[in-house]
Amino acid sequence: MSEDTVMAEDSVGVDDTAAGAGSLGRNVRRKEDQRLITGHGRFVTDVELPRMRHVAFLRSPYGHARITGADTAAARDAGFRVFTGADFAHIELRAQSALPSYVETAQPVLAHQKVRFAGEAVAAVVAADRYRAEDGLELVEIDYEPLAPTVCAWEAPSEPVHVEAPDNVLLERTFDAGDVDDVLASAAVVVERELTTNRHAGNPMECRAGVAVWDAADGKLTFWNGTQVPHIARNMIAELMGLPEGRVRVIAPDVGGGFGVKSVLYPEDLALCLMAREMPGIPLKWVEDRAEHLLAATHARDHRYLMKAGFDAEGTLLAVDADVTCNVGAYSVYPWTAGIEPLMAGGLLSGPYKLENYRCTVRGVATNTAPSGPYRGVARPASVFAMETMFDAAAAQLGIDAIEIRRRNVITPADIPYKMPSRLVDDSGHYRECLDKALEALDYDGVRAEQRRRRESGESPIGIGVAIYNELTGLGRAASAGPRMPFRTGHDACTVRVNPDGRVTVLSGVTSQGQGLETTVAQIVADAVGVRYDDVDVRIGDTDESLWGFGAFSSRQAVIGGGAAHNTAVEVRKKIITLAAGLMEAAEADLRIEDGDVYVVGEPKPYITVAEVARVAYLESNRLPDGIDPGLDATTFYDPIRGAFAAGVQVAAVEIDRATGELRILSYVCVEDAGRAMHPQIVDGQIAGAIAQGLGGALYEHLVYDDAGNLSTGTLLDYLMPTSAEVPDMVIGHVSRPASNPLGVRGVGEGGTLGPNAVLAGALRDALGIDVDELPVSPDRVWKELQG
């Protein structure tokens, strides 16, 4: 193991190493765990307020229908408060993009005029509890006149979803570099495939939830919401409701998983806030159930890739010509737009491979299905599958080893910074190193030998699958997430405050849905200020506390929110040093802070404590040196301007049961360059969790609509999420190359999801020689293939 190759030896139990060592890079005890492990977490569902009432939404049973009438009299007569689309018809969600081809459409708060997907909310009932609210729903009559639904994005619609887009295409763009046609014409081999990926969803274990209360005295709205993006939500709610932004407070307390699904402002969220304004002083609570979640929270990954790739005789990739259609569902998801998946697919299709000639037309097509939104990995679990399929197919045709053909084409450290054909700049490049390490962990030669042995003996066949990918993380303003929306998500703010007792409070703009940001931010600040991890409290998720943060998406928070925390903490340390130097009449350059004590260099004993310095700063202005103001805090913003690419390789050995078509994963290995690991357990947890989600999507999870637009997988009995019995033990390794940002980190939240589709499809091809053009790789599909 070379010196600069950091492995995760630290991943053994919680590291309670005492003071002095610094907390970054160690598995400190997570700040979140005590409350979560004892049943004292604070999820939105747990919010209980005086006079609280409960909301239930009535949802459309049709995929596509005109609304011809709404009769709420019976419900009102029974004493229920009822809201329908007409109540909020003046407000609509319009996701905006300045892209030339983008067709802007509107999403109503509660559907009126027409419904565009089964499960769309058409009315809401308020009652003393949820049971009664659901009783009330039965008394509301909505009349529908069914329209022809479209569920497949690559079939022509008979009735457009939105009048503004007669062909249902909400956005189309072509990425174009080099000379694709000529190069393909002269290529030694051109492989061509039509690939489709299965619609599935993030499906966090906590469904959506909200509590809204309107304070009539101050004209202020408070909204507890399990959102990944409280500041964006505040901004949007204020704008949509015509409120001063300072009078909207969004609080995201503990959130039970997000994965992108909760980075959207949903019509139900806005409905709750609007209803609360109509009912001053009465807190309204809505807790989504799983059936609603599967119907109406965002879906993802319903794509088709028409792929053509040309290679020379040595297997060098020469050109890619692709046409990508993404089913974006009934609405352009707010605020990310219908461009979120197609543009990501087009921007990152070529992934970690060197390529000059590239043409890729991507389009987002509306259908009568639930809206698609960001889901961990956005589009790339599909695009990586498409790209890796090209390499496997070319390798087979050219008689080159599937690993070798990839090794020849990946970006290397010598190529860095590498400008991809979509003009994104890759700054990692450690793919070969990740690949070597992954193959070693898999015992590649051993598996190959076993594969040959089994071929001869006739035992269950095994195959090896491989995926190489890059994950664009921590996007600054120059590479900012999203398709030319009216905002740029490159920065976050952080406030660090030393309290009069010397303990530190951090008001950070990051949010957490399980990623442990309270812990990571505390580690960063503790080390940068020079105090103990245990003496730092981090408060997140409340827009009345932190100044600004865009929230959790695009694997951005460790880089951006972490960078902001670090820079701010450094400012505060400087202030402590300046003040201490004045008090001690010492030179600033001679002072250092460690574990809350201020030392003069070379002296073994601390001279003064941070607590004493802080006391002076707040309570003893008489002792303040000249020119120093009271207080001990700082607030700064950080924007990395560009992004940091994380590199990743996943390989697996998979056994196929010929009798049942079932895949059994014998060994699964992932090696990533995730930069510096601030908390190795958390980093590995992100990777392992992401791989498990990827495996679920590759093998089981499939949201299926029938032709009439009904979701036929509406419970967890039909929508199969992987359990501990299906997800195998994984081996996770690291090639930790610091990125060029204050902490040297690369984002790590999403990468794991990118591999499994390609890995399992590749393993199947390797084992049996069959092409996998359609996902998921479910046992029935495999079995059918095996029958010929």
Binding site: D33, R35, T45, M205, A441, G516, G685, G689, M721, M730
Partner: protein, 174 residues
């Protein structure tokens, strides 16, 4: 309907509608919000509690069904002195939780598993814990935590490629 039962050793007297689920009664009437609801149709296991020592899904039961029974929830695991239950401690040590939403159900299932099958090996743990869905962790760290709680020893949260046993010429089952 009036019901009485014991929850974490304390007596609860409630007057509930017959249709009220046990989960709602525990969460809203008893204030024990540690029991979570992830599906409300008996699949995800987030609501797992113990009734007279046996695991049950609080979302699938009516409150009236526990009249006279003894119920244990996650809030009862921690000792009165504040010390964590070994299973809780193991989940923290092994990073067996991320968002913590599935965790209460996982802990209750794990406690029951270790009570009834103290010798459970890794495969058994995986099979027995498969009634609880976790969307965050990928399960490895949860299985590690259960093993650690059982053995009272240190198990890596996620195995490193250097320590995981790669196979050689022979191809082991796992």
């Amino acid at each position: 309907m009036k019901i009485s039962f014991s929850v974490n050793g304390e007596r609860a007297d409630l007057d509930v509608e017959p249709r009220r689920t046990l989960a709602d009664a525990l969460r809203d009437d008893c204030g024990l919000t540690g029991t979570h609801l992830g599906c409300e149709h008996g699949v995800c296991g987030a609501c797992t509690i113990l009734i007279d020592g046996e695991p049950a899904r609080a979302c699938l039961m009516f409150a009236v069904q526990v009249d006279g029974a003894s119920v244990s929830t996650v809030e009862g695991l921690q000792g009165t002195d504040g010390e964590l239950h070994p299973v809780q401690e193991a989940f923290v040590a092994c990073h067996g939780l991320q968002c913590g939403f599935c965790t209460p159900g996982m802990l209750m299932s794990a406690c029951h598993l270790l009570d009834t099958k103290p010798d459970a090996d890794r495969e058994t743990i995986r099979a027995e814990m498969s009634g609880n869905i976790c969307r965050c962790t990928g399960y490895q760290s949860i299985v590690d935590a259960v093993e650690r709680a059982r053995e009272g020893m240190c198990v890596p949260a996620v195995r490193d490629s250097n320590t995981a046993a790669p196979w050689g010429a022979t191809f082991p089952e796992e």
